[in-house]
């Protein structure tokens, strides 16, 4: 069910939501969190589909704020507004099959409201439940002090999706707080699991150095290298391969030969593992979707200490010279 509420107010949205739940005989309780999504009109439907997928495991109220601007407009450029003026707020409520295991509120605030996003969404939050913010692409320089970010308990950015991923990422890193993660890190979880499993296997011969292969324009490649350098305390070098969009593979250079784990093509989910003195093995590991990543993000809202360490310590342990700005 999708209900359009043109020129609405937050209290109208709240009461409409309560009324819709009552009519449908559903309880609006049981939401475990509020997910604030800052997105653009172009990305909206994809972003909602992802949020709805994640809400299957974490029933949540999704509030999407559709704006094509990331920073609040400069106050001085705005005309003075008289008390009692009501700024236009177009809204949508989606429930049932259109709202996943929760409900979706889409807000299209007028420019004059962008300065007050916090008090705009405040009445719509799930009472006494954590608030998570997700910027689907454009990201404020400092999420923790941004209007939306300051009211949240954890913040998710996606620097890879911005126009200049490295520049965005470096800015985010500068303003980083432990409550923030970037999806470039979340996308690595499967790779990290496979690598840890490879190192688990005896014999535990010493790893002397590591080569990470991947696209020269992928933050995930750099983060994977930074994590390995931080955790293994060995030199990590990079080998550029533009045929894949992110990580192609990792080579552990060990005293008795190379352990290699590789996914040579984006098109296939086949992954190859080679160990010293053993034949090549194949395993199929399906590619992760954005929905998988969001579900993982929402699973734990406490600070990710490892990511924090990789960002503050690991990042400077490796060279980022392979990074190119053109695809």
């Amino acid at each position: 069910m999708i209900e359009i509420l043109p020129s609405s107010t937050t209290s109208q949205i709240s009461s409409k939501l309560a009324q819709a739940h009552a009519e449908r005989g559903e309880a609006s309780q049981g939401r475990v969190l509020t997910l604030l999504v800052s997105t653009s009109e172009r990305e909206l439907e994809n972003v909602l589909a992802t949020a709805i997928q994640a809400s299957q495991e974490h029933p949540s109220r999704v509030i999407a704020i559709v704006t094509d601007r990331t920073e609040a407009p400069d106050m001085t450029t705005l005309p003075a507004v008289a008390v009692g003026t009501v700024a236009p707020l177009d809204a949508e409520i989606r429930l049932g099959s259109d709202g996943g295991a929760g409900e979706v509120i889409v807000l299209r605030p007028a420019e004059s409201l962008l300065r007050h996003l916090d008090t705009l969404v405040l009445p719509l939050l799930v009472p006494d439940a954590p608030v998570v913010a997700w910027w689907s692409s454009s990201t404020p320089a400092s999420p923790s002090t941004s209007l939306l970010g300051s009211m949240t308990r954890s913040r998710i950015t996606d620097a890879q999706m911005t126009a200049d991923p490295m520049a965005t990422f470096l800015t985010l890193r500068e303003h980083h707080t432990v409550e923030e993660t970037d999806l470039a890190w979340t996308r690595l979880t499967v790779w990290r699991g496979l690598l840890a499993a490879l190192v688990d296997e005896p014999p535990h011969t010493e790893i002397q150095s590591v080569t990470v292969r991947g696209n020269s324009h992928s933050l995930s490649v750099d983060l994977l290298g930074a994590w390995l350098a931080w955790a293994l305390k060995v030199p990590v070098s990079f080998e550029v391969d533009e045929h894949v969009s992110a990580v192609r593979g990792v080579v552990f250079h060990r005293t008795d030969g190379d352990s290699v784990i590789e996914r040579p093509s984006d098109a296939s989910s086949d992954l190859f593992i080679t160990k010293p003195g053993q034949m090549k093995q194949t395993i199929s590991v399906p590619h992760r979707t954005l929905g998988d990543c969001m579900t993982e993000e929402l699973r734990r809202l406490d600070p990710d200490e490892i990511y924090n360490a990789v960002l503050t310590e690991g990042w400077d342990m490796i060279s980022h010279d392979h990074w190119t700005t053109q695809r």
């Binding site: 049981g30 699991g193 014999p203 010493e206 955790a231 395993i283 399906p286």
Partner: protein
Amino acid sequence: MTTSASAQNPLERDENWTNPLRDPRDMRLPRIAGPCSLVIFGVTGDLSKKKLIPAVYDLANRGLLPAGFGLVGFGRRGWSHEDFADFIKENILAHARTPFNESTWEYLKGGIRFVQGTFDDADSFKRLSDTVSELDEVRGTQGNHAFYMSIPPRDFPTVSRQLADSGLAKSDEGAWRRVIIEKPFGHDLESARELDRVVSEVFDPQSVFRIDHYLGKETVQNLLALRFANMMFEPVWNSNYVDHVQITMAEDIGIGTRAGYFSGIGIARDVIQNHLLQLMALTAMEEPVSFSAKDLVAEKIKVLSAVRLPEDLGAHTARGQYAEGWQGAEKVNGFLDEQGIEKDDTTETYAAIRLDIDTRRWAGVPFYLRSGKRLGKRVTEIAVVFKHAPHLPFQDTATSELGNNAIVIRVQPDEGITMRFGSKVPGTAMEVRDVNMDFNYGNAFTEQSPEAYERLILDVLLGEPPLFPTTREVELSWEILDPIEKFWATQPQPQAYRSGTWGPQEADEMLARDGRSWRLP
């Protein structure tokens, strides 16, 4: 891997080696099983088709199985590896929770083998041994093999013996062998001990995984979280406030084609002995000092050893057999008309028992356990029913419709918690009536959350200590049930109950004698 190779490497000999990539603070990192194979006995059975095979596929699809993985079926059919692979694919398509992925299938298929044979034939086990060695060679399973006994308990001794004789039960240093046994663990104390003797002769105690598939790790952990992570339940979780506890496991289906297994065993041995007594122990136990398997078991054992049976078993237990009737919209057979059941079979398909726990916490609080087939609906729940408030400052008419408060832990189908309490009926008159407040673990569990069998198989392959019953718990459970079974054996035919109802009259009378009544789940 040879010993000389490992001798060159100082790290290998170090017992305290830890993986530098596994930081205990890293909560995201998944644990992927090491190289191994899973050998299933009874692979054409229902459990294997509907649960095990799909779970293996789902694990593969989630990327939790190793590159070196083999799946071996052992059975009577004259199948080739390809026939067996077709059989597996068919069941994946029918029952897996994650979508079918051709590439995952190709990967799994490379490690699928079938060994044709019978349990009493030593040659078949020789072939099985050759097959797993071949997997070690071509798939790199590195000598790690798990044996899943999805077979009737009477075959355990034979298969264990054969595994021992063919050298499959023990492995070289560095590799592991594990065996997974499904409930029931015997049919009384004596047979449980015999079974344990046979299995532990062949496998080390820590390599034996006893599995109660009704009781997933998720359920156990949900229960522990509810009881011990919260402040508001613990203060009332005792005889000062609790009137009694009802633990129900109801099935809406009959015995189906399982006459051979079910006849002579009955629902009490099938379900109460393991599942319901485990749920009771988890509900009644004191707080464990940690949630490690060892400390958890210690607390469960305390509860099970404090159980007291009613003196008059006739008055405080009940049995029944389903008669023909209409299960919803379907006309169904009575138990005695089921295929393979004799007309004078005295096996019960419904059982209810009262147990008391002699501890300070539970003195005077009876635990009623009931389980049956062809009941009103499929449901498993634990209902903690509270006493009435000692004083009600209302007129009698105001609270005439008020029942007992209750906390209901729903185990299945929709896992969650219901709280039942009195609330004023809106209006000018003062009237209090019972209302329910529900909490669900996720409105819809999707493919995202692993199914009980997935967690279970993964735990075995990882060698994680499972939260399943230990030998001591199994023995204690039989010590509780054996006297009841002995008493029932002296009784005539169990009372008939119409299919689709909530059990025999006898069960209602049993609670009425204590001034209580069964909940309608």
